[in-house]
């Protein structure tokens, strides 16, 4: 495993972790732009732009983009979060030049108005698809409620109204500001040659220009509010709780991740034993999500409407108990073993490594091998977990309930 990095004169940062035993190569552009960077009048533009990037360039029509990826068997996709837009492709090593030609080309899209109008319809279908999912409705609502007016609470997809009203020139302006090379990390993971990679990056991306974009990173504070949304046709009740956690800049994130594994992994966790094993809920999990200068723990429960209030109480008791007593050595060892094995398994696919590499470099300007990542987890002690619990109390949570009953309240 070899790590390399360079910065092109235009500010594009290029990194690679190369492994000649891999059978494929994954590459991705990590654009530091997401829903938190949007002003309210362009809500959903980051995600809509992600779709438009695949709709063609001066060299390629919309249909050519998918076709040129598929011709070399390249698996391509993209994703938009609150803070990043990632475009990635995985292919066999011999096809990297062709696959990268397409990927780098589309990062300078034409943003043609007729494509924009057609794709608008697809975006609205995607929004409607998520409106049929109780979990998605609850997640959007709890972020908005938890973050109050902070930009991290803004919707990634936007609304049918905000997308309908969005003019193409506002998207073009957003693109100009956020897709400058200084706002992008280009990462590679897998089987390739560093000199070839640098040459490809210079040839295809060396002419890009534009200044760094910047970001508002005021620290948010969770509201701890409660909201019940009525969906009379749902069968199950969906409950999502959220509370503040360590930001990605902090080394506490390792302890935070282990804490969420102990409390809320889908199997063998405290929530599993307290809610799922006895049959009180068909799902009860807790996770940790770190952000730029922010972080959250979230709780997700699906259960019958009749059990919802009791389950809110059970979650609350679970969290109060861990705040009072901390976690045991045995729990911590188990959580470490789980996280370690999962990280190793994920890292065996170049795509699994790519994500970790790209985000680390974007936000921490740091390379972390899988070994050093594991080392960070191994070092966490029971006292470290207690210290996280002291600084980030698990109650009260911000809670959103979605389903047939609204007769619920904070435990």
């Amino acid at each position: 495993m070899q790590f390399h990095q360079t910065t092109l004169p235009n500010g594009l940062r290029v990194i690679a972790e190369l492994n000649d035993r891999a059978r494929s190569i994954a590459t991705g552009f990590f654009v530091k732009a997401g829903s938190r960077d949007e002003s309210l009048d362009v809500s959903g533009v980051s995600h809509f732009l992600e779709h438009m990037v695949f709709k063609g360039t001066p060299r390629r029509g919309a249909l050519d983009v998918n076709r040129d990826f598929d011709r070399v068997g390249a698996k391509h996709n993209a994703q938009t979060s609150e803070e990043d837009t990632l475009y990635h492709v995985t292919c066999l090593p011999e096809y990297l030049p062709k696959a990268f030609d397409v990927l780098s080309d589309i990062l300078r899209p034409s943003l043609r108005e007729d494509d924009f109008d057609t794709e608008k319809k697809v975006i609205i279908e995607e929004i409607r698809m998520y409106l049929d999912s109780p979990m998605s409705v609850a997640y959007e609502a709890v972020k908005e409620l938890h973050f109050g007016g902070h930009a991290l609470g803004q919707s990634i997809l936007g609304t049918v109204e905000s997308i309908t009203d969005l003019p193409v020139d506002k998207m073009r302006a957003y693109f100009e500001k956020y897709y400058s090379p200084a706002n992008i990390v280009l990462a590679f993971a897998g089987n390739s040659d560093w000199n070839d990679i640098v040459r490809l990056a210079e040839e295809r991306c060396g002419h890009w220009s534009g200044p760094p974009a910047g970001r508002q990173t005021a620290v948010p504070r969770g509201t701890g509010a409660f909201k019940a949304i009525l969906r009379p046709d749902d069968n199950q009740q969906t409950l999502i709780g959220m509370f503040d956690g360590p930001p990605l800049e902090s080394d506490d994130r390792y302890a935070a991740h282990l804490l969420s594994t102990i409390l809320g992994d889908h199997t063998g966790s405290r929530l599993y034993w307290n809610l799922v094993d006895p049959g009180h809920a068909d799902s009860a999990e807790m996770g940790y999500q770190d952000y730029n200068n922010a972080g959250v723990f979230y709780t997700f429960v699906s259960c019958t409407p009749e059990e919802a209030q009791a389950n809110l109480g059970r979650v609350d008791e679970t969290y109060k108990q861990v705040m009072a007593e901390g976690v045991t050595e045995a729990e911590l060892t188990q959580a470490k073993n789980k996280v370690l094995a999962r990280n190793v398994i994920r890292s065996e696919r170049p795509m699994g490594r790519l994500m970790s590499l790209g985000f680390q470099w974007t936000y921490r300007h740091e390379y972390m091998s899988i070994e050093s990542e594991i080392e960070h987890y191994s070092k966490v002690t029971v006292a470290d977990i207690r210290s996280v619990l002291e600084r980030y109390p698990l109650t009260p949570q911000t809670i959103v309930s979605v389903g047939p009953t609204t007769d619920l309240h904070q435990p």
């Binding site: 070399v72 698809m129 199950q236 199997t267 188990q334």
Partner: protein, 414 residues
């Protein structure tokens, strides 16, 4: 790079062990197929296989429920247990160094589950809630209901069961199913990753070699249907699902069928995605995929779209099925399909989990593991005239269509 090697062994009790060493990984994974699918359940006890898959992990061998899950966690095992139509599948992945210990725990889970009566009520409660959760997930619901209509029973069943079945199941029903269906004859254990074959063979022999075979059961087939149907639900989108018969993995024309299905809707420049989403913006998700049981197979397609645009989506989708039969495929489409399938095959070698799943599936369908070279050559041998000719033989006249949403659509004549 050292090459992968596939080995297999059949024990006298019928259990098949098939394993592939992947030199580039540190993990190891296994897929254990037991001939205990929901097709083997009685209709009055639909949900048995799924509930039993949950019960067996609640204590086994010397360990109680907590100790068992803790032991797996301690070994870093990511695992899942569940039933499908033809099998109950236990799948697990961990570091290669922990594999044998994990298999030891699974020998207890499969052969010596505690099966404590008090655990059944919570499991029943979970099973009933899973049924309700599917009602809240229209995309999943429509595919499960499509299979019930398309396949003759029991091949269209899903392991979630029925409310009446789940309510009726007793602990003794579950025990009887365990006794009858958890047996070595008909079971396949597929392992892939960082493994040493001699050690694995020895361990599996001592863990499962003395497992007593049971009697095979036969299935009574009953027709599915109806082949045109609508389920009413006040949703934002209308779900469209369709299926038509295809040929099985063991059939000589198998690769022609895979090629035709992929060209129709298996990748981002395939016909359905291009015509329905890219050109017309009708939906976010549209695809077709191939699925096979041992003696029957299907092409299954799906699209989800706003109710007011659902009719057009259905019409464009169905016209693409007809166009494929009428006009065939061109050489560029065939090249693209080939590149995609070959890349997937090679990349699968990077994941011990997905590789163990493929080994198990190959053995179930073919009684052997296809070498990658064989698949690659078969794909190379395909020609546009051969695939086009196959497309004229696809049984799109035997189409089953199901919609789910606020309004029924005008469906083609049955």
């Amino acid at each position: 790079m050292p090459e992968s090697t596939v080995k297999h062994h059949q024990f006298p009790n019928g259990l098949v062990l098939v394993a592939e060493t992947i030199p580039s990984v540190r993990s190891a994974a296994f897929t254990f197929l037991l001939p205990a699918g929901c097709a083997q359940e009685s209709e009055e006890r639909a949900g048995t296989a799924g509930m039993l898959a949950e019960w067996i992990t609640r204590g086994a061998g010397e360990r109680d429920s907590h100790e068992l899950i803790s032991a797996l966690d301690f070994l870093g095992v990511s695992h899942s247990e569940g039933a499908q139509t033809s099998h109950t599948t236990l799948a697990a992945a961990t570091l290669g160094t922990n594999l044998i210990d994990a298999l030891g725990i699974y020998a207890d889970i499969i052969r010596r589950p505690a099966l404590i009566d008090e655990e059944v009520e919570p499991i029943r409660e979970l099973a009933l809630q899973s049924l309700q959760s599917i009602e809240d997930d229209p995309g999943t619901k429509v595919i499960l209901e499509l299979r019930k209509r398309f396949y003759p029973d029991p091949w269209g069943r899903s392991s979630v069961g029925t409310e009446a079945g789940i309510e009726a199941i007793t602990p003794d029903d579950l025990r009887a199913f365990h006794e009858a269906a958890y047996r070595p004859n008909g079971a396949i254990l597929a392992v892939a990753g960082a493994i040493e074959w001699p050690k694995l063979l020895d361990s599996v022999g001592s863990l499962f070699g003395d497992w007593t075979p049971g009697a095979s059961s036969s299935l009574q087939l009953r027709p599915g249907g109806p082949n045109r149907d609508h389920l009413h639900k006040e949703t934002q989108q209308t779900q469209i699902a369709f299926a038509f018969p295809s040929i099985t993995i063991a059939h000589p024309d198998y690769y022609l069928a895979r090629a035709a299905t992929a060209i129709l809707g298996g990748y981002s420049s395939a016909r359905l995605f291009t015509e329905v989403r890219e050109k017309r913006g009708l939906c976010y998700t549209v695809y077709s995929s191939y699925e096979s049981h041992k003696d029957r197979a299907a092409v299954v397609g799906y699209a989800g779209t706003s109710t007011e645009r659902a009719q057009e989506t259905l019409d464009v989708t169905l016209s693409e099925l007809k166009r494929l039969a009428a006009d065939g495929v061109d050489s560029e489409e065939l090249e693209t399909m080939r590149a995609g399938l070959k890349s997937s095959l090679i990349m699968q070698q990077e994941s011990s989990m997905s590789r163990s799943g493929s080994l198990a599936a190959d053995w179930y369908h073919l009684g052997r593991v296809r070498p990658l070279d064989e698949i690659s050559s078969a794909l190379d041998a395909l020609t546009p005239p051969a695939v086009s000719e196959y497309c004229t033989r696809q049984q799109i006249d035997q189409l089953t269509v199901l919609t789910l949403g606020p309004k029924p659509l005008a469906l083609p004549e049955a």
